[in-house]
């Protein structure tokens, strides 16, 4: 996005709000708190819309794969059209991805947003599983400690 690479020469520019945007760039790791907000942002975007996941962390968790607060695969929660590898990806890679996405849109390949509508239940279930937990994940093993923790609260 910087002036040396200047994506605006392809007519790409940042927009202020999801309403005006076509492509959602998820730059890097996604923590649970962020995921929730990404979903709302994504749902507020008008169709057609595309998602560009940026960096390894969105593909498989990357360097944070074992963190308790970052998801490992963004595509489970919202449909991703194209991903860029690397942590951080080089600007050239991002530009290439954007152009590939443009080509995909022109050829009609990029239609992940339709998947979101079709498989809404699947995505919603995945989202709810991580965001609206009703029981502790490691609960059965550490039930005593868990009680202690809640009593502290």
């Amino acid at each position: 996005m910087t002036s040396r690479w200047d994506v605006e020469r392809f007519g790409i520019g940042p927009m202020a709000t999801p309403r005006q945007a076509d492509v959602l760039l998820v730059t890097g790791y996604v923590s649970l708190k962020t995921l929730k907000r990404i979903i709302r942002t994504y749902e507020q975007m008008p169709e057609p819309k595309w998602v560009l996941a940026f960096g390894s962390c969105t593909v498989n968790g990357g360097i944070y794969w074992d963190s308790y607060n970052t998801i490992t695969n963004l595509a489970e929660y919202i449909p991703v059209d194209i991903t860029v590898s690397g942590c951080m990806p080089r600007p050239e890679a991002v530009m290439d991805a954007l152009q590939t996405l443009m080509k995909m849109i022109q050829s009609g390949e990029a239609g992940a947003y339709k998947k979101y509508k079709e498989n809404y239940e699947y995505y919603k279930a995945n989202q709810d599983r991580v965001l609206r937990k009703t029981y502790p994940i490691l609960g059965e093993k550490l039930i005593q400690n868990e009680e202690a923790a809640t009593s502290i609260e």
């Binding site: 200047d6 605006e8 020469r9 202020a16 076509d22």
Partner: protein, 294 residues
Amino acid sequence: MIEILRVFLFGFFAIFIGLFFMGIGRKIIARIQLRLGPPFYQAFLDVGKLFSRKSITHNFVMDLGMVMSLAGLVATMLFVPIAGHTAIKTSSNLIVIMYLMAIGYLGMAMAVAASGNPNATIGVSRALTMMLGYEVPFFTVMLGLIIINGTSSLELIANSQAGSILNWNMIKFPLGFIAAEIALQAMMGEKPFDAMIAPAEIASGPMVELSGKYLGLAFLTHAVSIFVETAIIVNLFMGGASNIFTFVLKQFEIYLITVIIEAVFPRFKIEQAVKFLWTVPMSIALLQLVLIVF
């Protein structure tokens, strides 16, 4: 029948020129910022894309307001003489033009306020405050020209400057021109007077809820407003033009100044902007007015 055709011709011409200016303006800003910038036809692509997308509305007021905003500006445009021609024979009264332009802004304000987003409403409240800020000095400049020409017809004022460049009001009343130029900057909503948009503060303000064709209509409204406002200045101060090409060229000169100022200034806070407009351009304009009247 021919009149209806002329209305359409003028309307779409204004939209075309406005978008063309916008594209070139973006390119120029990018060059100032050491970037390559988008191609000059980018604005057309943007509008095309926006109109082809699905869009989101909150209620019928949003639709009505956005249509009204473009309608108001197109109607204004039809009143402004372009190189001595108007779409329909009217007296091209300056006050009518100023008020018609307000329909556009009111429509836009209504549409975005209907979306129910406080960011948008803050943007509108700022835009209206700004309007009070620039309208007063701009009108003061106009008042001087109206009084000296004894007419409020834009066409007659433009015609009165015919002949050599020395007849231009720009040369005759340089102070007024400077004041009008500053007010124009605010009228176009360019920096330093873009507090109503202010992405870093209120997430692009009025545009916050506009999507798809609504944003497209806002784009077009902006394009036409660029056309109308530069055309008013050209008519008032640069003697109009004998043919359409010189006219557009003169408009572009005005727009160029605006764009360059836009690139190198941050934005005022709204109260600072209004204070500035009521002190600097206003006193220049008043000085000019006093020089003209007495």
